[in-house]
Subunit: 337 residues, 2 copies
DNA sequence: TTGTAGGCGTTATCAT
DNA sequence: ATGATAACGCCTACAA
């Protein structure tokens, strides 16, 4: 078995009580400097490591926070997680990560796992599929602090770290309108996801402001995956009266759609201008480069963990919704070249 | 405090002993089906959750594995982690993630944290800076199973999940030679990182095979970050006799170098052909698109966790080094157009 | 300043 | 089949 030295071993060796050892190792002032130094030296010598398991059980704190996201291998999310991990580490917290793969079932299981692991708090961005909230209600019932970022859950009282999706969608649509576009299609996600609703609202508000009629046949709902973008491109290609612009609620769908359109001889942006959302790095490298909305993922992640840690240390803190800076990044896919 | 129902609460309510409750909840056959059903129903009703902390302390297992990587927000690593998390979850293991940011210090601290958290095993890819191995030796000393992927550590006996870096570097260089290139520069990483040594070796072997003289002034060592690529580009621009090709040990340096070269009027690939390494997705979208080496990160991650779980369940299993499929992906940055 | 004792929640062992 | 007991390792009132 493993090389496990306990405070009892140290106690025996040093002929002290284990409580003295415990205090010394915790730098408690309630032990002489001399004994403390002696004990710490011996502990180091013997390679003693505090057993976090036992310590946690005793203190009922794990100094671990759980993160549940749709998937890690997407730039926005991995960058947000990088920010979370960085701040958590600085504050001596560990981070457990799980991916829901946008599935309700997996999300449920992950939450269950995290709760029974006694995480001190949870940061999450909801799965696309999630339309029931029993698992999230349980988090609240257990009084485990929770912070949503990006994809919030309106049904659950919690802290939220967001960008102003509606305003940015408005900006994106307005930008297309001001560039002279009249028939602007919108790619939206599943209706239970808050941000896609917000982006849809922003899109509609912009149309309204400029007196463009909202055409329901120009609003396409999908999972916004790569293949969805391709399918939608083919659908658009088959239309007699094509849109002259597309505002997609994410970059993946925008880019894959753009590729298919181009392969069929459509000129982007001349024939159809395209704007995405999220500012994935590869959008800067496509031809044409993709106009998109920067969501400041690193800042979102850092703000999410800061908010969570505050809530953990201060359980009565008022719940807040914080908006992180965001902006439309103009590139060539929406500019007349 | 939290809504925590324990087996003792259930015992009191059902007028049974806590050990019976424990057995029932563990589906032990040593309890009547009737009582078991009764207990399980009641547990569900009251929202009982096993306290993983206590259970772990008892069993001396955490069912948690630690992952230490340079940074999460890079495609290769986030994808590998996605694979790790997926398989871990299927096997009812949790994953703790830490980023060393390529710093030895942070890596040390992370390892220490993971060890005192009693993780059942560790998967890691070494930090660029790491040139001392005391922290890694401690992992071995504690008999905690460890698997390296991508950036291994030759000084530590462990499982390794790799690609054949040397062979792929050879392929890349040979490809440039067969395309008629004579002065092929190489961007390598810090010398303590195994994979960069391997890629350098592959590069040299290809030169040798085709009787090209190895020119030490064409081998550039750096951290291979974006800014390094730019600096190297400027350095190359200042040369009287420029290379006609560059083989970079990663994509980031390759792409940023390519950009700077192009801005200065160099035609890629005509004047200088470029090949990267890692096949980051954005390489497919640059102009010209970047020839690179696919490292199959998802498969590497899955193989790493499979190997680790096997080692955990079977501590005497022989240590292995597994090579994952990899291949040179030809794109426009190295083809005469 | 140091020691004693008990408990965090679970589970394995032994007894009934 | 079920109950009693002890132990995993740590921490903290309380006592001395």
């Amino acid at each position: 078995m493993k090389n496990k030295i306990t405070i009892h071993d140290l106690a025996r060796i040093l002929k002290k009580d284990s409580s003295t050892i415990s205090r010394a190792l915790a730098d408690s002032p309630r032990v002489t400097k001399k004994t403390r130094d002696l004990i710490q030296a011996k502990a180091k010598e013997l390679g003693y490591f505090r057993n976090t398991l036992a310590s946690n059980l005793r203190s009922q704190k794990t100094r671990t926070i759980g993160v549940v996201v749709p998937r890690i291998s997407r730039y926005f999310l991995s960058t947000a997680i990088a920010g979370i991990e960085e701040i958590a580490f600085e504050n001596n917290y560990r981070v457990i990560i799980g991916q829901s793969m946008d599935q309700l079932d997996k999300e449920r299981q992950l939450i269950e796992t995290l709760l029974s692991s006694q995480v001190d708090g949870i940061i999450m961005s909801m799965a696309m599929e999630t339309n029931q909230y029993d698992h999230l209600e349980r988090i609240v019932a257990q009084k485990t602090p929770i912070v949503f970022f990006d994809r919030r859950c309106d049904a659950i009282p919690a802290n939220n770290i967001l960008i102003d999706d509606c305003a940015r969608a408005f900006d994106a649509t307005e930008h297309l309108i001001l560039s002279g576009r009249k028939r602007i299609a919108h790619f939206t996600g599943l209706e239970n996801v808050s941000i896609y609703q917000d982006r849809l609202t922003g899109y509609k508000q912009a149309l309204q402001k400029y007196n463009l009629t909202e055409d329901p046949t120009l609003i396409y709902k999908s999972s916004l995956k790569s293949q969805d973008g391709k399918q939608l491109a083919n659908l658009i290609l088959s239309l007699k009266q094509k849109p002259d612009a597309i505002f997609s609620a994410n970059d993946i769908a925008a880019i894959s759609c753009m590729q298919v359109l181009q392969e069929s001889g459509i000129n982007v942006p001349k024939d159809i201008a395209i704007v995405g959302f999220s500012n994935e790095p590869l959008g800067a490298y496509t031809t044409p480069s993709l106009t998109s909305v920067n969501q400041s993922p690193l800042e979102m992640g850092k703000m999410a963990i800061a908010t969570l840690l505050n809530q953990i240390e201060n359980p009565d803190a008022k719940l807040e919704t914080k908006l992180i800076d965001s902006s439309l990044i103009l590139r060539n896919s929406s500019m007349i070249q």
